[in-house]
Each structure stands twice: as structure tokens, then as C-alpha cells.
């Protein structure tokens, strides 16, 4: 695919050079270069890390190695030609590059490449009595890289058509933990590291046509997903006669698959002050291991009507259908429609009344049909250009959400989804003084399902203040609180006892979570050449499921109480208009208050210099 991309890119450039009047070889090119406006900067430096503890939390997406770092930035324009390049390399596994090329607006290319590291947790399986972990204490990680190139070609002879050719390659390489129950009779969990070497390759040719008031786009996505690594194997033993798996067999198998999607979009102005938007999509997803496939079709239309500057109305209808050709596979039909009335009863205000109806029909999943109604009322207003506030109320009612019916116990039906949902939201943004801005919002939602004994309260509150007490000093502070309280039904079935004999039911199993975030940042221009920056973020988070279910205090296992602190200070010194020196210190800490499992910290010092041309 990369070869295909290279060939196509060369073709695009060649055709652009031939057809773009501003880009041609010879005298004109020399003239363009002479009139070019170019700016560039390069920087280099070193960073020193000191780290310990569980990296899957404290440095989950960071490369925690000491070493050299570098970056560059180049922008140039000449006439209607433009180039913007930038790059940053912190480590072999942490780098990013961008190229934005515009040749006289006839050929545009947006290229990016990024590579980063993701540390993964390795479950120590301490709760299990019989386990085999072949990679106990392993530090699992994935190297993720993404290459994207979005190209647009416009031919002067056909100014109403744009040709697009987008390519994307998304790769993951590394190890992750893979578990299975190797001997069911003993609940013997086997764990070993599984090699990951997967790639997603997308190619999307398409075009956009402008026909007077109408714009039509067509795209065809071709995706292939390949897992080059083999599935891990384990010995499932001889087991009992009714065991379906015996001996050496694979597990955690990731199938190769491919996807093809055709998408057509239309937007057009219509008579009588109205516009229409429509989209049609047809896709096919194929599992290349089992040679089964699923097709999906979707269509959406939206008709917008402008009655007056005080009232606009939108009516829409969407449908998404998934048809799974696998035997026993789940089929879905998800249709929704509704309207939005947008009114302006008072100057600088907006009132939106919305209603949405939704129906989901399923095969091979329960229930066969779900109806959902959503009403939404939103009010926003600006007062004296200094204060803006939003208020929102949303009400959702569902007749029968997705549930799970237990095959072994007649009558046992469970779900985590609500039948009733009410959400209240308020937001205020206020420029109190020229140097003080306040932003605050509050959200409360209640989600309940009385039929299945589920009740959930969600609270979110956030406030931030931006304050510039001196011309050279900027302060920003913020506080956020999020609380979630769930009471749910739960059931336990006695092992090896069939039917309802061994069933124990529990109402109001509680789950509480709470997180608070405090942050403060400051930027101070000490002199005309020196700028100091600093910030501190503290996060306290608790998620607690400490019900003594069946005599076991499983809260000891599932309770998470994690505190985070991150602080950094930096200095930037502009020696002259070309040379800038910078230094930064950062410290991050994770405290696992209950189990110490996720404890970890790292500190980093970086020094560098940049040169602007």
C-alpha cells in the first residue's frame, strides 16, 4: 500500500506541476524562489528521566528513557504555494512529523507520522488460587505508529471537482497479556505474553463535486486489518468428557479482517429558504479467518427550513442496519428521527426545542425491539457581551433497553441500561473584568430503571478562573468534581447447581466513585527576555464497590483509590532574536492508597536550545 501511495503521490505532483499555472520549471520557478517568504527553527536538547513503580499508570504513554531530543519547524510561502513542515523526536519510540504542502491550491497534501509507546498493565492474578503466569511481572508495552496522508487535487479545467486520495497506516507492535482458563475443573488461569504485530491499512479515494447550490462527495474506504503474530497456545489438558477443548490449542486469536465502505454525501440549498443534507453508506466487514461477513447500510437526511431570523427548524431521519451473515450473529436496525426548533425570542439569545424518536430492532439479542424518546430544551443568552450562560434539560424514556436473559435460570433478566434518564446542565462564562474571566458549569443526571432495580446519580461541577493581575503575570486555576453513585441489582448462582435452586439475588449493590481535580498554572514574564512558567495538578479519585457479597469483602479487591500529583516549572530565555534557551523540570506521582499496586513516580529535567532563522 505504501508503494501504491508513493506512485500515486508522484503522479499527483507531476500532474499538478503540469496543470498549475503558478508552478512551472525554469524562469518562473526561479522567480518564485526569490520571492519566497521562509521562516524556520531548529532545536535540540537533552532530557533526563528518573522513574520507578508501575509504569502502566504513571507513564502510560511516555517514553521514560533519558536521551537527546530535537525538533524542527519550517514554513515557507511563495505566491500561492505554501509548505509547513514540523517534526519532534524525543526518542526512537516517541516522534511526530507533519508536512502540509499546498501547490498553488491545485495540489494539497497533508502528511503526518506519529509513533508513541503505550505501557500496559500485567495482571498479577493474586486473587487466584491456582494460576500459571509464564511472564510474571512483565512490563508489557505496545509501540503504536500512525502514518496519514490526505491529498487533494483540483484541476483548473474542472474547478467544480476535487479529487481526494487519503491513505492511513496504523500499526501496533509489542506484547500484551493474554489469559485463558486452561483447566476449567480447577479454575486454573493461564497467562502468558502475547505478541502483537497488527496493522490497519486504509486507502480512501474520493471526490467532491460542487454543482451550483449542491455539493456532493463520494468516498470509497478500503481497509485491511492484519495480525501478523500467531495466537498463543496453551495445554487445555484431557479434562472431563464434556470438555469441548482438549490438548494444545490456541486462544486469544485475533482474526484478520477487511472492510469496504462506500459513502455518498449531499448538501444542497433548496427553494423556500431551506437546505437538505443526505448521506448514504454501504459497508461490508469480513472476517478472513472464518470467512463470514457483516454488511451495514446507513442513510441519513436532514431538512432545514429558515422561517425568519427568529425561527429555524430542522427535521431529520437516520437509519443504520447491520446484517451479520454469521450463524447466530446479532442483526441490528437502528432508526431515529426528530426535529430541532431553534428560536431567538430575545436579542443574543437562543432557545432550542428538540425531540428525537429512536427504534432499535434486533435479531439474536434481547429485547427484539427498543423504543427511545428524547426531549431536549436548551436556552443560551449573551448579556452585554461579557456574560454568556447556557441551560439545558434533557429527558429520555426507553421502553425496554438491551437486556441479558439468562438461559439457565428462567425469569432472570438483567441490564445496566436505564429506562428513564433526566439530565440538567448549566454553564456560565463571564468576563468579570478586562483581566478576570470565570467559567463554571454544573451537570446532574439521574438514570434509573425501576424494573431492574437500578438507580444512578451523576454529579459534575467545574469552575475555572483566568486572572491577569499584572501585565506580565497570567494565572489560571480550575477545580472539578465528579461523583457517580450507582445502586444495582445483582445475582449469584451456586456453582454446579442448575435452575433457580442455587440463585441468590441482591438489590441495591452500591458502587460509588468520586474524583476531584485541582489545577493552577502561572506564566510570568520576568524580563523582556525571560519567561517563567509553572503548574501543579492534583487529582484524587476513588471508586468503591465494597459490598460484602456472599460473605466476601470483594471491595478489598476491586476498590481503587488513586491520588495523582503533577507539577512542572520551566524557564525560557531569549538570548537574542535567533537563540532561545529553555529548561524544564517535571515531577509526576501516582499513589495507590489501598493496594500500592499502581504506585509510581517519575521526574524529568530537560534543557535545550532553539535557533530561529
Amino acid at each position: 500500500m505504501k508503494r501504491l501511495f508513493a506512485i500515486f503521490s508522484r503522479g499527483m505532483i507531476a500532474s499538478a506541476l503540469m496543470c498549475c499555472p503558478g508552478v512551472s520549471f525554469g524562469q518562473e520557478t526561479t522567480s518564485l524562489l526569490q520571492n519566497a517568504d521562509v521562516s524556520a527553527a531548529v532545536s535540540g536538547g537533552f532530557h533526563f528521566y528518573n522513574t520507578d513503580g508501575n509504569r502502566s499508570k504513571v507513564g502510560e504513554y511516555d517514553v521514560l528513557h533519558s536521551g537527546a531530543e530535537s525538533s524542527f519547524d519550517l514554513q515557507g510561502s511563495s505566491g500561492r504555494n505554501y509548505i509547513d513542515m514540523s517534526g519532534r523526536m524525543l526518542d526512537e519510540n516517541d516522534q511526530s512529523y507533519n508536512l502540509n504542502l499546498d501547490l498553488n491550491r491545485y495540489l494539497r497534501s497533508d502528511f503526518s507520522y506519529m509513533r508513541f509507546q503505550h505501557y500496559l498493565d500485567h495482571d498479577p492474578l493474586k486473587n487466584q488460587d491456582f494460576t500459571t503466569d509464564y511472564n510474571n511481572g512483565a512490563c508489557n508495552k505496545l509501540i503504536i505508529s500512525e502514518l496519514k496522508a490526505n491529498n487533494t487535487l483540483l484541476l483548473p479545467s474542472m474547478p467544480f471537482v476535487k479529487f481526494n486520495f487519503d491513505v492511513r497506516s496504523y500499526d501496533k507492535e509489542g506484547n500484551r497479556q493474554a489469559m485463558t482458563v486452561s483447566k476449567c475443573s480447577q479454575c486454573h488461569v493461564t497467562s502468558r505474553n502475547k505478541r502483537v504485530n497488527s496493522s490497519i491499512n486504509d486507502v480512501t479515494p474520493g471526490m467532491e463535486i460542487a454543482l451550483g447550490p449542491a455539493t456532493i462527495t463520494y468516498n470509497h474506504l478500503i481497509r485491511s486489518f492484519t495480525e501478523h503474530a500467531d495466537a498463543p497456545m496453551t495445554n487445555y489438558g484431557d479434562g472431563a468428557s464434556f470438555f469441548l477443548v482438549k490438548g494444545l490449542a490456541p486462544y486469544s486469536l485475533v482474526p484478520d479482517s477487511k472492510l469496504n465502505v462506500d459513502t455518498v454525501n449531499l448538501r444542497s440549498a433548496l427553494p423556500w429558504d431551506s437546505t437538505v443534507y443526505a448521506t448514504v453508506q454501504h459497508g461490508k466487514r469480513e472476517n478472513l479467518e472464518t470467512h463470514t461477513n457483516a454488511t451495514f447500510n446507513s442513510m441519513a437526511t436532514r431538512l432545514s427550513k429558515y422561517f425568519s431570523k427568529y425561527l429555524t427548524c430542522d427535521v431529520y431521519y437516520n437509519k443504520y442496519s447491520l446484517e451479520n451473515k454469521t450463524s447466530g450473529g446479532i442483526d441490528l436496525d437502528n432508526a431515529r428521527g426528530g426535529f430541532d426548533f431553534n428560536m431567538h425570542p430575545v436579542k443574543n439569545s437562543g432557545l432550542t426545542c428538540s425531540y428525537q424518536w429512536q427504534e432499535i430492532n434486533r435479531d439474536n439479542s434481547e429485547p427484539n425491539s427498543t423504543h427511545k424518546n428524547t426531549w431536549r430544551l436548551t436556552w443560551n443568552q449573551r448579556i452585554l457581551k461579557k456574560l454568556r450562560y447556557n441551560l439545558k434539560y434533557e429527558k429520555i424514556r426507553v421502553n425496554e433497553p438491551l437486556v441479558r436473559k439468562d438461559d439457565t435460570i428462567p425469569g432472570l433478566v438483567q441490564t445496566a441500561l436505564p429506562k428513564k434518564e433526566d439530565t440538567y446542565y448549566a454553564n456560565l462564562s463571564w468576563s468579570i473584568l478586562y483581566n478576570v474571566t470565570l467559567n463554571t458549569n454544573l451537570r446532574y443526571a439521574n438514570l434509573r430503571n425501576s424494573r431492574y432495580n437500578s438507580d444512578e446519580d451523576q454529579w459534575e461541577y467545574a469552575i475555572s478562573l483566568w486572572y491577569v493581575p499584572l501585565e506580565r503575570l497570567t494565572l489560571t486555576g480550575a477545580y472539578t468534581l465528579a461523583k457517580n453513585k450507582v445502586n444495582s441489582f445483582g445475582a449469584l448462582k451456586t456453582y454446579h447447581l442448575n435452575g433457580a435452586d442455587g440463585l441468590f439475588e441482591y438489590n441495591d449493590l452500591p458502587y460509588d466513585s468520586r474524583s476531584q481535580t485541582w489545577s493552577l498554572s502561572a506564566a510570568f514574564k520576568l524580563t523582556t527576555q525571560t519567561t517563567l512558567t509553572g503548574d501543579i495538578i492534583c487529582i484524587d479519585s476513588i471508586a468503591d464497590f465494597d459490598k460484602h457479597v456472599d460473605g466476601q469483602n470483594i471491595g478489598d479487591f476491586s476498590k481503587l483509590s488513586i491520588g495523582q500529583v503533577q507539577t512542572s516549572v520551566g524557564v525560557v530565555y531569549a538570548y537574542n532574536k535567533h537563540l532561545t534557551l529553555n529548561s524544564r523540570f517535571m515531577y509526576r506521582e501516582y499513589n495507590d492508597h489501598d493496594q500500592n499496586y499502581f504506585d509510581g513516580h517519575f521526574s524529568m529535567i530537560s534543557v535545550g536550545a532553539s535557533w530561529s532563522f
Binding site: G79, R80, N127, P159, M179, T180, Q186, C187, I200, E208, A210, P213, T217, F243, L244, V245, A249, P250, Y251, V254, P255, L259, V264, N265, R267, S268, A269, L270, D273, T279, V280, N287, N293, A294, M299, S304, N318, L322, T326, L332, G350, S365, R404, D406, Q414, T415, A416, N427, A478, T480, A482, G490, Y495, H496, I539, F545, Q552, F557, S558, L560
Partner: protein
């Protein structure tokens, strides 16, 4: 096949309708009333420079300065493309009411000025945009005079989003999160902030958004887990959670809400082991996203 034929027929009908409407409409006509400067005529960008040189020097580096004739669709090049004819503004020595000032326009009207050109790509379904319904127009995020980042987004993505969506910023600071705060992803990786029929998401189905990077779960699998097929967000909160793996609640609670747990048989004592139950369901049911391999006892147990 019948469904796709029907859907394509509807689209064809829409195309024909739009085609027919061309006879009644001028190119680029919009339904929101655009502001006009009565009696003013075009004077050219050079007339703006003496007073607005600082803006012009920035503007020269932007894509709006580089537009070619085809993209201008007959409109005046330079400042007056968006700000309208400037002769009266010059005559009155810079009176603000004699020029189209985006700061003074309501969001819907100022956005409509942008949509006169930006009719394709991500803004096609602009009317589905909850931002504009809440009084947030293009200018709140984009600065059209100067390059402030990719796509001229002021502060850049995700920081511009966090100025309003503070609660999302806080969620992304939680122990389990997508790498937005590490600058490896953006809000725009999943969201089309300009409006889409599926709650400002980039795809028609939420799962298709997730499969962009997590294609290993796209299947279709022989043994499926119903919520995985229907909606990833039933179990996962993509913006960040306290529980591991972006789960809305920790195991085993999230599983117990829909599945009955195992209970030890008192007659057999600790057989099977007590530690296996009511702790971590996915230690055994590890193929929770679906599998092509049948399980040991019950084919669909998702243990392989």
C-alpha cells in the same frame, strides 16, 4: 441489497431535486440573511493595509490569502471576501458599522459567512452541529486572520475544546484515559465538531469510530457479546475513568449488572476456588469483545 438500492434511490432523488433547484437559485445562495453594506463598493485589499497592516501581515500567511479563482467562486479576493465592500468604511475613516464585523454578528450569521465557501468536507452537515445551536459559531474556535495552529484553530485541539468542556478535561486526567493530555490524540480524532448525524461523531455508528484504531474487535465473530455489537459505550467511557481499561465501573460490578456471578457451592467447599469468583471476570472470560474460538464447557463463554 434491496435496502442499499432503496437508499441509493433516495440519494439519487435528492441529487435530482438539488439539480432542478439550480434553476431557481443563484450559486452559493444561503438561507440565513447575510449582512449587507448599503451603497458600498469594493476597493481592494491594498486599501485596507495602511490601517490594518498588522492583521494583513498575518493574513498573508493564511490559506484565505492563497485562494485561487476557482475557490473564490467569483467573490472579491482578499479582506473583502468576508468583510464585504469597504468603500464606506474608508470614507467614514473606519466606522465599525460600515464594514462586516464578525465580532458584532450573531454566531449563526457569522458562521453562515464561512459556510458560503465551506460547503463540503466536514461542514456538510453543519445544521446538525450542537455548537451553533448553543450560540457557538466558527469564530469561537477558528481565527481566520492568522495561523494559530492546524486548521487555524485558536489554542489548538484539544485545548480549545477544554475552554468550554472542562469536565471532559478533568475526565482525561483520570487514571484510565486516552492519550489526549499526552498530545497523541485530539478531540477531532473521534469527533466531527462541525456536526454529524451521530452526536458530532465522525462515523454513523459509535463502534465504527472505535474500530478506526481498535480494528481487532471489529469481527464479525462467531461468538459475540451483545453490547460490543450494539454500543461500546455501554461498558466503556472513552473520555476517562477511575476504573481500568476505561470501564464505567470496576470489575466485577460492571459485569454483575448484566450477568449473574458464580457462587461457591457450600457442599464442595472451596472447589472451585473462591478467589476465582467475584473478583475479575475477564481473567477467565478474557475474550470479552468476541471470539471465533469456542470455550471449554459452554461454547459462548468467551474464555478463549
Amino acid at each position: 441489497m434491496n435496502r442499499s438500492t432503496a437508499a441509493l434511490s433516495i440519494l439519487l432523488l435528492c441529487v435530482l431535486t438539488a439539480w432542478g433547484c439550480q434553476r431557481f437559485l443563484k450559486a452559493g445562495e444561503n438561507r440565513v440573511e447575510l449582512p449587507m453594506i448599503e451603497g458600498a463598493f469594493y476597493v481592494g485589499t491594498d486599501s485596507c493595509v495602511p490601517c490594518h497592516d498588522d492583521v494583513y501581515q498575518q493574513f498573508k500567511k493564511t490559506v484565505h490569502y492563497r485562494l485561487n479563482a476557482a475557490e473564490l467562486k467569483g467573490m472579491q479576493r482578499g479582506c473583502e471576501t468576508c468583510h464585504g465592500p469597504g468603500s464606506k468604511h474608508m470614507q467614514t475613516k473606519g466606522k465599525a458599522q460600515d464594514i462586516i464585523s464578525f465580532a458584532k454578528l450573531p454566531p449563526e450569521q457569522s458562521s453562515q459567512m464561512c459556510l458560503a465557501c465551506h460547503q463540503g468536507g466536514p461542514t456538510m452537515d453543519w445544521r446538525a452541529n450542537v455548537h451553533v445551536l448553543n450560540g457557538v459559531g466558527c469564530n469561537e474556535c477558528h481565527k481566520s486572520h492568522k495561523i494559530t495552529g492546524p486548521k487555524m484553530v485558536y489554542l489548538g485541539d484539544p485545548d480549545i475544546c477544554f475552554t468550554c468542556h472542562q469536565e471532559k478535561k478533568a475526565q482525561l486526567m483520570l487514571p484510565s484515559h486516552h492519550p489526549l493530555r499526552e498530545k497523541k490524540m485530539k478531540c477531532g480524532s473521534c469527533h466531527n465538531n462541525h456536526g454529524s448525524e451521530n452526536n458530532n461523531l465522525k462515523k454513523q455508528s459509535l463502534n465504527d469510530v472505535c474500530f478506526e484504531c481498535h480494528a481487532e474487535y471489529q469481527g464479525p465473530f462467531v461468538f459475540e457479546h451483545a453490547p460490543v455489537v450494539e454500543d461500546c459505550s455501554i461498558c466503556h467511557e472513552p473520555h476517562g475513568t477511575i476504573a481500568n481499561n476505561l470501564l464505567r465501573q470496576s470489575e466485577p460490578f460492571i459485569c454483575l449488572r448484566c450477568h449473574r456471578g458464580h457462587k461457591i457451592n457450600p457442599k464442595t467447599g472451596d472447589y472451585p476456588t473462591s478467589g476465582a469468583f467475584l473478583t475479575s471476570c475477564v481473567q477467565c472470560h478474557s475474550a470479552v469483545h468476541g471470539s471465533d474460538l469456542h470455550s471449554q464447557v459452554n461454547g459462548g463463554g468467551l474464555t478463549r
